[in-house]
């Protein structure tokens, strides 16, 4: 036997110990090599039940139906309401972020009175009675001095009963209602009204269309009714027998453009209308549509009416080759269900109304207005109050108001979710004009830029804590009423805006003048009273009499609430309209602010995928929703074409100074082959100085650069794509927060006018003039 000395024993022992220590890390931890069988059945250990409440999303103006999962009085998750005709169970990133608006740490929790200088952020909490009493006393004092017209209520666009209450309140009092929305849709609204004779936005029946010409309409992004368009787009591609074809004209390749079959680069911004008229010229001159359609659309003059818009002429103006225009016109006219949509890209110019009117009239030319797969008109709301709305006022109206403020003609400015201090170009000088307004009252639930100037704040409840209603706009071509109910009790001492107005209308000393039309105690009472005609009408999705049995109004009301609203597919339809003719005489060349030599680039502004126009910048989930094209989140960037970048020696992540004739900002370059040379694009939505911890001091606001003199002459709306800018290298760099490494560099130099994304047979990329 081998002799084992003490020394050998220690040697071997220590090596073994070292091995044991060294390999401990190789074995899984004990917690991973056991499975604990719980004591009780998991399904029996639930200590609460979930409830799903139907309601309406108020995160944007679309008005999708939602269902909210509530456990023990706390809202947990928002989903799309599968029964709602608009969104059919779908929902977007902004919609699900609604719970973050509810639980936001920077929500205003009680009425506040300013206790320091304006803008200092020093406030003291006061009771609702005191706050409402003060507002009533101030309003009454002005009224007694015959100064009621010096009171302005500025709201974000409102619909339904809230709009009715706001309007009646201000009418009774004698003041004025204004509405503000950053990057408003005034031009789209007015031109749709002109073309289709309906003050409500029409439903573009993308779902059943087979050939879509989209002129800068970013319908897969935050525009009008994003979720319903996304759903319809799926049907458009895969739903019917025929796969639809999408052609997109724009300067900056958007997510919608990237989804198109053909992305047609429109080199000259603001020439969408000329392009549309040229397409019309081809259709008319080649008799590609019925004689009646041609007669109606040209006022009987035929192709002569469109002289000057021959493809060869249009090529000079738009930069799109004549052969391409002819081919697209023929394909459009011959399609089973053609559809022409115009959006922000075409609207944001000094000739915006002309552009969109020409585009919309194309639908009359091919006879698809009121037809499946074409433009469907929306009936007004099921009752007058539900159909009521306060749409955004254009920048011209806001400049007029700013002048009145500057001239000390406004004594009280009341605000509700309107944030003009952020959304108006700074050269409008809304900020300085605010100093001349003796009293600013805000009903907003977050400390946004304008609310931060307020003397008194009466915070609104979240939409998840409030009663309300919403007729979707654009609707679904039949009567639809979404009902919003509180899914949780108010977390804080806040009150729904419309409830606060109803209470104010009953607060002494002004109660005497305010009663008319505002007898309801609460918004809920108003909704119950105003839905009575729908109960009595005994029609639609939930009826008074079902299978011979009549239900009480209370039960009917509960059923409607549970369903998230009421709709009637076979109800009142919109009145058909007479076809409209093109108005080629309105054609005007787009004007741009800034000298071409000094300011080399066209500036293109688009709403961010997550934070939109900036009204959603306070929510972390929308902040980290990346832009689908660049995958950038949480930041502002400027898109520069690779050719321009090479010329200027710019790389992605270089910080540049952007100067326009009216303003400047610094932001980070993202070299993007999808933007036309000579154009740069900046997303809107960032650059907040207020609005909570997640929004503040992040990125830049491109509206700083926009020249407010540039407006669409007919509507007075801001032409936000009509300013030129120049870029200057700063030498500083910043690493943009991106999910992916960036777009693949264009292999060919960018002089393709048309990029044929697919030939429909799985073919590769082809292109050229």
């Amino acid at each position: 036997m081998m002799e084992l000395t003490r020394r050998d024993f220690l040697k071997v022992g220590s090596v073994t110990a070292a091995g044991a220590v060294a390999f401990t890390g190789c074995a899984p931890a004990a917690r991973e090599s056991i499975i604990q069988s719980p004591l009780l059945m998991p399904e029996d250990t639930l200590n609460s039940f979930e409830n799903w409440y139907g309601s309406v999303c108020k995160q944007c103006g679309a008005g999708c139906g939602i269902v909210v999962r509530v456990i023990e009085g706390r809202a947990k998750k928002i989903e799309g309401n599968p029964d709602h005709p608009l969104n059919a169970g779908k929902i977007c990133a902004r919609g699900v972020s609604g719970v973050q608006a509810l639980y936001h740490p920077d929500r205003l929790r009680s009425p506040l009175r300013r206790s320091g200088p304006r803008g200092s952020g020093r406030y003291t909490s006061v009771s609702w009675e005191e706050a409402l009493g003060e507002v009533a006393a101030r309003l009454d004092a002005l009224k007694k001095e015959n100064q009621a017209q010096s009171v302005v209520m500025a709201v974000a666009p409102l619909r339904g009963v809230a709009a009715t209450i706001t309007k009646r309140f201000m009418t009774n009092y004698g003041g004025t209602v204004y509405s503000f929305e950053t990057l408003d849709n005034t031009v789209v609204r007015r031109s749709a009204e002109a073309a289709f004779g309906d003050p409500l936005l029409p439903k573009f029946d993308l779902e059943n269309a087979t050939y879509v010409l989209s002129f800068g309409a970013n319908f897969l992004e935050p525009w009008l009714s994003q979720v319903s368009y996304n759903r319809a787009y799926g049907e458009f591609r895969q739903g019917g027998a025929e796969r639809g074809t999408l052609i997109q004209f724009e300067q900056r390749m958007s997510t919608t453009g990237a989804s198109a079959d053909e992305w047609v680069h429109l080199p000259n911004p603001g020439t969408d209308g000329v392009l549309a008229l040229s397409i019309a010229y081809v259709i008319v001159s080649k008799n590609l549509t019925s004689a009646a359609n041609i007669r109606n659309a040209t006022g009987g003059a035929g192709a002569a009416a469109l002289r000057g818009f021959e493809p060869a002429e249009a090529e000079k103006k738009t930069g799109v080759p004549a052969a391409r225009i002819e081919a697209l016109a023929e394909a459009f006219a011959k399609a089973k269900a053609p559809l022409a949509i115009g959006g922000m890209g075409a609207a944001g110019h000094t000739n915006g109304l002309f552009n969109l009117s020409a585009i919309f009239t194309l639908n009359h030319l091919v006879g698809n207005v009121g037809r499946r797969g074409g433009v469907l008109l929306n009936p007004s709301g099921p009752t007058r109050e539900f159909g009521d709305q306060i749409a955004a006022d254009p920048v011209r109206a806001w400049r007029a108001l700013t002048d009145r403020m500057q001239n000390k003609q406004i004594n009280i400015l009341m605000l509700h979710d309107a944030n003009p201090l952020y959304g108006l170009p700074p050269t409008v000088k809304f900020g300085p004009a605010l100093k001349n307004v003796p009293m600013i009252i805000s009903f907003s639930s977050f400390m946004d830029e304008t609310t931060a100037m307020a003397d008194l704040i009466l915070p609104d409840s979240s939409y998840l804590e409030s009663w309300g209603d919403y007729v979707p706009d654009p609707g679904v071509a039949y009567e639809t009423l979404g009902l919003q109910q509180p899914v949780v009790n108010p977390l804080y001492s806040t009150r729904t805006f419309s409830d606060a107005l109803l209470t104010l209308a009953k607060t002494a000393p002004m109660a005497e003048d305010m009663k008319s039309g505002l007898a309801w105690e609460t918004t809920r009472d108003a909704l119950k009273a105003l839905t009575t005609p729908l109960y009595e009408a005994n029609r639609g999705s939930i009826r008074k009499t079902e299978g011979g049995k009549t239900i009480s109004q209370e039960l009917w009301w509960n059923k409607v609430l549970a369903a998230g609203g009421w709709w009637d597919e076979r109800g009142v339809k919109a009145t058909p309209i007479a076809p409209k003719a093109f108005a080629p005489r309105d054609a005007a060349d787009p004007k741009f602010s800034g000298d071409e030599k000094q300011y080399m680039f066209h500036l293109n502004i688009f709403p961010s995928a997550g934070v939109g126009d900036g009204s959603m910048a306070h929510l972390p989930w929308t902040q980290f929703t990346p832009d689908p094209m660049t995958t950038i989140a949480w930041q502002t960037w400027i898109e520069v074409n690779p050719k321009d970048a090479e010329k200027m020696g710019l790389r992605t992540n270089d910080i540049v100074r952007v100067d326009s004739p009216v303003g400047s900002l610094e932001t980070t370059v993202y070299v993007y082959p999808g933007i036309a040379p000579g154009t740069v694009a900046i997303p809107a939505g960032q650059g907040h100085t207020h609005m909570g911890r997640y929004a503040e001091k992040r990125g830049a606001n491109p509206l700083t650069l926009v020249d407010p003199e540039m407006i669409d002459a007919s509507t007075g709306a801001l032409a936000f794509n009509a300013t030129r800018v120049r870029l200057t290298k700063t030498g500083k760099r910043y690493s943009l927060p991106r999910i992916e490494g960036g777009a693949v560099e264009a292999r060919e130099p960018f002089d393709y006018t048309v990029i044929q994304v697919t030939d429909g047979k799985g073919g590769g990329a082809t292109g050229g003039h």
Binding site: G19, C26, S33, I34, I35, L40
Partner: protein, 183 residues
């Protein structure tokens, strides 16, 4: 100076490394059936009594994990069933379960099948893909777990390493994209 000490050290290190590898292998692919805290036998439950696999592993066709049943579920039967009364060893094992339930202590079973953290395996998808009309559940499960109803102590019967997964996915025309399993 002699080089022998360094060679000895080298050999010793090698031995220790190899021992470690064998040890790690034993942990990561447990072909040997481990001893469990309760001598539960599938022979009685799934074999003799022919209880369906999903009676106890009730999440197997619903989610990622098949789930080890709660002690309360054992008590569905073992409140009344205390063994045949003849074998004191069996009585003692059942008593362990009843004691655990009465005293409120969960049972720490030894894990038999363990996949690396980089893999997300979803039982329900596999059950759905492998089931055919009229096929007993036990037969579906046996594709990967072997003939469990005959196992006194459960051990792993397949390597369940990536090659094994990919081979089976190919045979069944299942996707073999990286992201199918790796998240």
């Amino acid at each position: 100076m002699s080089r022998r000490p360094s060679i000895i050290v080298g050999v010793l290190v090698l031995v220790v490394l190899m021992a470690g590898m064998v040890g790690a292998q034993a942990v990561y692919s447990q072909y040997a059936a481990p001893e469990q805290p309760v001598k539960f036998t599938h022979v009685t439950h799934a074999g003799v009594l022919q209880m369906d696999c999903t009676f106890c592993h009730r999440n197997v066709d619903k989610g990622a994990s098949a789930m080890v049943p709660a002690v309360e579920q054992c008590m569905f039967c073992h409140k009344a069933v205390t063994g045949d009364g003849t074998d004191p060893a069996k009585l003692a094992e059942i008593a362990k379960v009843r004691d655990a339930f009465d005293s409120g202590n969960p049972i720490d079973w030894i894990r038999v099948h363990r996949l690396p953290d980089t893999v997300r395996f979803v039982h329900s998808a596999h059950i759905k893909a492998l089931s055919k009309p009229g096929m007993p559940t036990a037969q579906v499960c046996s594709t990967c777990h072997g003939d469990v109803p005959s196992m006194g102590k459960v051990g792993q019967v397949r390597s369940l390493k990536m090659g094994d997964c990919v081979a089976c996915h190919r045979q069944n025309s299942a996707p073999t994209d990286c992201t199918t399993c790796h998240k």
